[in-house]
């Protein structure tokens, strides 16, 4: 009895399928405009008419096969697109056994992996990259030490991440906008921020760009299109979408590049920005520095799943995982990403795998939560600078002598910059009140006046090196 019922149901199904298949396919649910303007057509495509209830759309007649299995595979036009059905219950895995592979061009000892390497990095560019990486490392070392000596308040180094900083910056154009987190001083260095400017900013003196208002690692330069760093994590990500939105409005041939650590990807702003940028077709390159640690939180406590690169797909964004300690790989990947972002007006996600060799900041002692061996291993064996140096030396572009000279020279330059910046005057008192608004409002004028009166009456209570 039951078998008979099943068979008749199948037959009914077949009959029904044949009947319905022969009816004309429904109207497209989406209105597409065939205009020349890509963004207009995109936005037209998003509007859709509401569906008539209970009217199923079957796919084209070709799918109307007569066999049993094929009769039961049809697609339904949901809001958002056609989806096929399956009777096999299948949970997508949270992560695959094999992690997404990492793009790399130079091996651990600086030997090229491919026989025909991409030819983008010639001698001049390679040497410039190397010099900048050494400068960055020296700058980090000396500024860190200066902070330890009490000469200024706070510093964050980028040891181990020199390749990400310099190589990515090298592949961008000066028209691109940068929104960084705080460990990307190398990008600013490449763009033209001088050592003296860095030192001025860190010392908070009156010629620094920030007029002594923000923490040492919150530098920024409008001229170099590097937005001022802001402390809360991931706030630069939606702002990057806004900058890209502005570029789209102006139809500029430039993209936005935004950097963040893997810890910041836990913030809500990361997810919303990825989503926004995909929906908006924004020309953004998201570069995630996955350096393994968020202060003391290892990645295993930060997220599950295979890192950041797989998250891109969830938002409809093309993504790639890159060896962050390989200059050539980073350079190539960012260069291509930038091209795609601008030409196709879409976001790209790059996860650069690396390791945070230094402490999180001058307020941190990372030996408390990780072993010295681990740190040393990554500092020596996987050093991006050593690896790249081996490659340029083997190419005959660099010698040991030149290397020692460079180190000594840069060391001197940084030291001089720090000393000079320290000698400079601090910002005047009026700079405490300017730039809060475009023009000084009455309440701030009053507050400044009352402060000056206070200083006048009790001069000994106030620092002497602040000009009034």
């Amino acid at each position: 009895m039951s078998i008979w019922l099943i068979r008749s149901r199948r037959n009914c199904g077949n009959l029904l399928k044949t009947l319905i298949c022969n009816s004309p396919t429904g109207n497209g649910r989406y209105e597409y405009s065939i205009s020349g303007n890509p963004s207009a057509s995109l936005f037209m495509a998003r509007r859709y008419k509401s569906m008539e209830a209970e009217k199923e759309l079957f796919s084209s007649k070709d799918d109307c096969k007569t066999s049993f299995e094929e009769n039961h595979v049809h697609r339904l036009e949901y809001p958002g697109g056609k989806i096929a059905f399956t009777s096999e219950m299948n949970f997508l895995p949270g992560s695959y056994e094999e992690r997404v592979k990492c793009y790399r061009l130079l091996d651990q000892d600086g030997y090229p992996i491919l026989s025909n390497m991409p030819e983008h990095v010639g001698k001049e560019l390679a040497l410039k990259i190397y010099v900048n990486m050494v400068t960055l490392q020296t700058m980090d070392t000396l500024f860190y030490e200066a902070q330890r000596q009490g000469r200024f308040s706070f510093y964050m180094s980028s040891f181990g991440e020199e390749a990400i900083n310099i190589a990515s910056a090298a592949s961008l154009s000066p028209d691109d906008h940068i929104l960084a987190q705080y460990r990307e001083q190398g990008v600013l260095l490449w763009r033209g921020f001088t050592l003296q400017e860095f030192a001025n900013h860190f010392m908070g003196n009156k010629i620094g760009h920030g007029k002594g208002r923000n923490m040492p690692i919150h530098y920024g330069s409008k001229k170099l299109k590097y937005f001022t760093i802001s402390a809360p994590l991931a706030t630069q990500l939606p702002q990057a979408v806004g900058v890209a939105y502005s570029l789209k409005n102006d139809k500029k041939d430039a993209c936005v590049v935004t950097y963040f650590g893997e810890g910041s990807t836990s913030e809500g702003d990361f997810h919303a920005s990825m989503n926004f940028s995909a929906v908006l077709d924004a020309p953004i390159v998201f570069i995630c520095r996955n350096n393994g640690w968020a202060i003391s939180t290892p990645v295993t406590d930060q997220f599950r799943g295979d890192g950041i690169v797989v998250k891109g797909q969830a938002y409809g964004i093309q993504s790639i995982r890159v060896d962050g300690n390989d200059v050539l790989a980073v350079y190539n990947a960012v260069r291509s990403a930038r091209e795609i972002a601008i030409k196709e007006q879409r976001p790209i996600l790059i996860e650069a795998m690396t390791y945070r060799v230094g402490h999180h900041s001058t307020s941190d002692d990372s030996t408390k939560y990780r072993t010295k061996d681990e740190i040393n291993h990554w500092r020596t064996v996987h050093s991006p600078i050593t690896r790249f140096r081996k490659w340029i030396e083997r190419n005959g572009w660099w010698t040991q002598n030149e290397d020692s000279e460079l180190h000594i020279d840069v060391h001197k330059q940084v030291k001089n910059a720090i000393d000079e910046a320290e000698r400079e005057e601090k910002p005047a008192l009026k700079d405490m009140f300017t730039d809060v608004y475009e023009e000084l409002p009455s309440n701030l004028i009053e507050q400044e006046r009352s402060l000056r009166e206070m200083i006048h009456r009790h001069p000994k209570e106030f620092p002497t090196n602040v000009p009034l």
Partner: protein
């Protein structure tokens, strides 16, 4: 001074009028006297004249009987407050191609209160942008766009949702001009409906001006009439500072006749609604109408209140307020914020600091209670200051 925040007890003689006015409020068919101030023809900073020439009755479109005088032959055109906002917005978008709108459902839907209706059709889907639902993120997006040269207007569907954007507003919007050493400016306008009304429940009845007032670097203004709504919208867009424009859910359908010529109001000025001699009543947004209603009763009782709509919530227009206090020597603040930490609290402190010598009586501040706004209509009404309370407060002040 412990006596500042005195609770006001309604006297028994007011019961009948209390009931009738409360009933009329429930039905939301009330006619208001809106003082039109004249003489504001040119652009730039404006001083609003003290005494208006015309009285325009019927500020609410729902009222059936329109008096004959407010028709045809007068100059200007009549519109509702949300239309005035839209007009201001449209004029600025026409004038400056960098002005854009970002928010949820602002595009082809026209905004949840129809302030952006028709703009997407006119200016395109990119310039009037519909965003996914992430307030912190689209506020951040607006900030990023502003730092790159655009002038975005960020709409919060309800002001309460902008609490999600607090991080971007406080840490970035208000600060980045300062911390970047003046390199990056952020000329955004953040606007949206707030306030109590329409029985929307506690989460949709927030008064965000309390929470935002401390943030350095931002300006806050509250509009209350179609005239000042359009003027403040235009001024906010033209300002290079980040400005938060507070609108009220119940005021969107106010009707008024506004000039045909272009005008821009000053963001830092208060509006003299009704000059008087006996007491200064400081208020803003919807409470202005409750105050004016109470003013009618007070006039009948022989009092002459001076009503000022402070409009500028940050910074306060202490010039106008101070002049008024020097004349009347008595201050009553009527606000919709909660008692603790509201605009009234800050205003009380500012007045006490600056004009203590001119006061003949302690400052009285009428605010909402420190409770989440209830949903039930009667309870919701009682969280908001009602005209009888205002009348009683004035009587107490003028004893």
């Amino acid at each position: 001074m412990a006596s500042i925040y005195q609770p006001v007890r309604a006297t028994t003689t007011l019961t009948s009028s209390t009931l009738s006015s409360r009933r009329s409020l429930t039905e939301r068919k009330v006619s208001f006297v809106v003082l039109r101030s004249g003489g504001v023809k040119d652009s730039g900073l404006k001083r609003i004249c003290c005494r208006g020439d015309q009285f325009v009755t019927n500020a609410v479109a729902a009222k059936a009987d329109t008096p004959a005088e407010s028709t045809a032959s007068k100059p200007g055109h009549e519109l509702l407050l949300f239309e005035a906002l839209r007009e201001g917005l449209e004029e600025e978008m026409e004038r400056d191609a960098r002005v854009c709108v970002i928010g949820e459902d602002v595009g082809h839907y026209g905004g949840s209160y129809k302030v952006t209706k028709g703009l997407a059709d006119k200016y395109g889907d990119l310039r009037v942008l519909d965003t996914p639902i992430a307030e912190n993120s689209f506020t951040g997006m607006g900030i990023g766009a502003a730092m790159t040269g655009l002038r975005p207007i960020i709409e919060g569907m309800n002001m309460g949702f902008l609490l999600l954007a607090f991080n971007q507003i406080s840490n970035n919007c208000g600060m980045l001009h300062y911390t970047s050493g003046g390199q990056f400016k952020i000329p955004v306008v953040i606007r949206g409906p707030g306030g109590v009304g329409r029985q929307l429940g506690a989460e949709h009845s927030q008064r965000l001006e309390s929470y935002f007032q401390s943030i350095p670097g931002i300006q806050m203004v509250a509009c209350s009439t179609p005239y000042n709504a359009k003027g403040l919208m235009k001024a906010a867009i033209r300002s290079d500072n980040p400005v938060i424009l507070f609108e009220h859910v119940l005021l969107y359908n106010l009707k008024e006749r506004i000039p045909d010529e272009e005008y821009v109001l000053s963001l830092e000025e208060a509006e003299m609604v009704r000059p008087g001699e006996h007491v200064t009543i400081l208020t803003y947004s919807r409470m202005r109408y409750h105050v004016m209603q109470a003013a009618k009763t007070l006039v009948n009782k022989g009092y002459d209140p001076e009503v000022i709509d402070i409009r500028s919530l940050k910074p306060f227009d202490l010039y106008t307020i101070g002049n008024s206090i020097k004349k009347t020597h008595r201050v009553l603040i009527v606000e919709e914020c909660m008692r603790t930490g509201g605009i009234g609290a800050s205003l009380t402190a500012a007045i006490t600091e600056n004009f203590n010598d001119y006061l003949d009586a302690p400052i009285m501040c009428l605010s909402s209670q420190d409770v989440p706004t209830p949903y039930a209509g009667t309870l919701e009404e009682w969280t908001v200051v009602q005209p009888p309370q205002i009348v009683a407060a004035v009587e107490q002040l003028c004893q």
